[in-house]
Symmetry: C2
Subunit: 415 residues, 2 copies
């Protein structure tokens, strides 16, 4: 009377982390120690002995493991199974949306809203919290626009780590409430996300907390990397032509590209890698501007504003990693209008029954826009990332009502 | 460049439905025809040639199939793969909540909130809509308190069936909106769920729609049955001691019990079957009353009221099937107070990071209450069904705020 996948989580696995490496300068840092940013103030990337991974793991063995992200254990940083923070990180479904295919190229939505706390933030945070536990952290702090905070709260509570979370004052009520309900301490701050980030920095000394801001520690990328590993396995190790990803901080895009490169080095993926398309909103498109101006870093976007709040990120500490992935993959960065985002969300729900969030809708809008522009070919297969359940976001009003005591005009119902 | 599980959905499978059978009288009805209730006005149960299923399928083959409910294809009624309405019906995770274990008996939450549209209603509705498509239905109507309507809307839109949905006027705004956004026509009705049901009945002639009310067609049970099939497989075909299920219409409890009996007849499950515990709210507990008074049917519960709206069902057409399953399994029916439900929801979120809905919380409250009463033993392993994501429900306010311009009292943050 115990779940069959339990033996997988009961045993330890050999781990293959060799060191950490500054994403910009390339200098090395030892694993198994607590790290924030590199000396250059840039994100640290986790490096593995990929030859040894390839020798120790085979594709067939993977199919026998639990359908959750921990199956890729040899490519993840956690050493002791006992440190894993687990709330059911299931393999997210690929839903084909044939109605949006422009030509022979097929289109799928990867529905990340099925993860714990309803968003892809769970991938990064389960990994970061597991590593924090492994490295002895007792208290964590983070600024958040919402979904990341909810994921941190849930995972921290599940392993008994104290979490302090700071949100901009316009953070949706649902997010602040779920953070608190899931056991974290959460504050609304009269400012924006970077003001919240500053508070986390100021509190480091007096509160002795660990700063879990996006890309300011090395392990959220490793969690997000599993989107790429999962996609590769779901597609039989032959990847789709383009991946459209809603890009704010960009951890997922960076992580997926890292996954594809690791798989390539292991010889598990041999064909062409997907073109990575960073999708932003017209009201906040620093990566698009930097991409078009051929810059390595992006300028801060002033007066950022979009209905897709999750990609309202005026400055990303990993900007150069996003731009590098987009360029290396022969992809591009593009921006869509809020009108198109809203239209795409409605269209997806009504025509396919898939309720995506505004950020997910931005990828559908971008697919449609760039098919029209010719930058995506009608023959290319495409994966659109829906990063969170649409249920967390405002929906249009529904106004029909019926008086059951009055005579009913049945025919009028069809209108 | 196509998903590896595609071949599974591309081919047809032999199907094993022999006939339909009245749940009360036992008289037979032919399969492959559109049916509502039996002649006796009771739910129809789908019967299979289980010997043939056992001969054609083995447990090892299952492990190679997609981790979604369609893997149990031989025990499901859909004949043509092309008729399957699919939105990613993934195997839902079992999350161990060790903190709630009272003794050596372990406790898991089965998190049904990960299914399409965020609730277990997806299981029943994907099956009912697929069968409606298979049997040529073009228009469907249904009364709903919310989650079932959302699932119907999504699946109907995904296969191009028109859906008409009627909600009591106090249905939460989020549900009415998601129904409409997902492409159905939805009305608020000045009445309760049975008034909505009457409208669906009245519209049958003029609107020529098919009535998809709970248990008024045979296939929603078959969908819900997959909860039992999945649990059995997840536990290695050796089931937990008790299953606590939030019981309104009871389709899931009936379906799970049917699954366990089918697996037993196939010889796939040999040990003791779980005790089925029907959990209701004190403000609406018709099954508990009927169970305690040793009745076969339940009286209508007057002035039903509970914070767990999903189990606010004063009269269930399948009452005798619920009571039969509870009794045959040596289980019981019990009621919990709204106070305990609210307390349990908060406790689960704060201590384990699992955000369950009020109906799911009722099962945790019942577990705690019946451990105390001795009706559940501390050595018994238990599965609690969380039937929907907690995100669809109101959460308590979170009131902390911080002025970033004022001096910060760090120590006070810990309080």
């Amino acid at each position: 009377m115990s779940p069959v996948d339990e033996s997988f989580f009961a045993r330890d696995f050999p781990t293959f982390v060799s060191h950490l490496e500054c994403g910009l300068e390339g200098d090395h840092y030892p694993a198994d120690e607590l790290h924030g940013l590199s000396k250059a103030g840039r994100p640290l990337l986790v490096r593995y002995n990929l030859e040894a991974v390839a020798a120790s793991l085979d594709k067939q063995a993977l199919t026998q493991r639990p359908a959750e992200l921990w199956r890729y254990r040899e490519l993840l940083p956690v050493r002791r199974s006992a440190n894993i923070a687990r709330l059911g990180e299931i393999t997210t479904p690929l839903i084909e949306t044939a109605t949006f295919a422009a030509g022979s190229g097929r289109v799928w939505v990867k529905d990340e809203g099925r993860l714990p706390t309803g968003s892809f933030k769970a991938r990064g945070l389960c990994m970061a919290v597991s590593m924090a536990k492994e490295l002895g952290v007792k208290r964590i702090a983070m600024p958040t626009n919402g979904n990341a905070g909810a994921a941190l709260a849930a995972y921290a509570s599940s392993v008994g780590i104290e979490a302090f979370i700071f949100c901009p004052e316009d953070t949706p009520e649902v997010n602040v409430r779920e953070i608190e309900l899931q056991g974290a301490k959460v504050w609304r701050v009269n400012g924006l996300i970077h003001d919240c980030g500053k508070l986390v920095g100021q509190g480091k000394e007096p509160m002795q907390w660990f700063d879990l801001s996006t890309l300011k520690e090395p392990y959220r990328i490793e969690g997000k990397k599993t989107m790429g590993l999962e996609l590769a396995e779901q597609f039989g190790w032959e990847l789709p032509d383009v991946i459209l990803y809603p890009t704010g901080g960009g951890t997922g895009l960076i992580g997926m590209w890292k996954a594809f490169q690791e798989l390539q080095q292991m010889g598990w993926v041999t064909g062409k890698l997907p073109r990575m398309i960073a999708v932003q909103a017209e009201g906040c498109a620093p990566m698009v501007k930097a991409f078009e101006e051929n810059q390595q870093h992006a300028e801060v976007w002033e007066n950022a504003s979009t209905v897709a709040a999750g990609i309202r990120v005026p400055a990303a500490v990993g900007d150069f990693l996003i731009l590098r992935a987009v360029r290396e993959s022969n992809g591009f960065a593009c921006a869509v209008s809020d009108d198109l985002i809203i239209k795409a969300q409605k269209e997806a729900a009504q025509k396919t029954g898939v309720l995506i969030c505004p950020e997910g809708a931005a990828t559908l809008a971008a697919y449609q826009q760039e098919i029209a522009s010719g930058r995506i070919d009608k023959q290319e297969s495409a994966v659109l990332f829906n990063c969170a359940t649409g249920l967390k976001y405002p929906m249009p009003e529904a106004n029909r009502s019926l008086d059951r005591h009055a005579p009913i005009d049945w025919e009028a119902m069809r209108l």
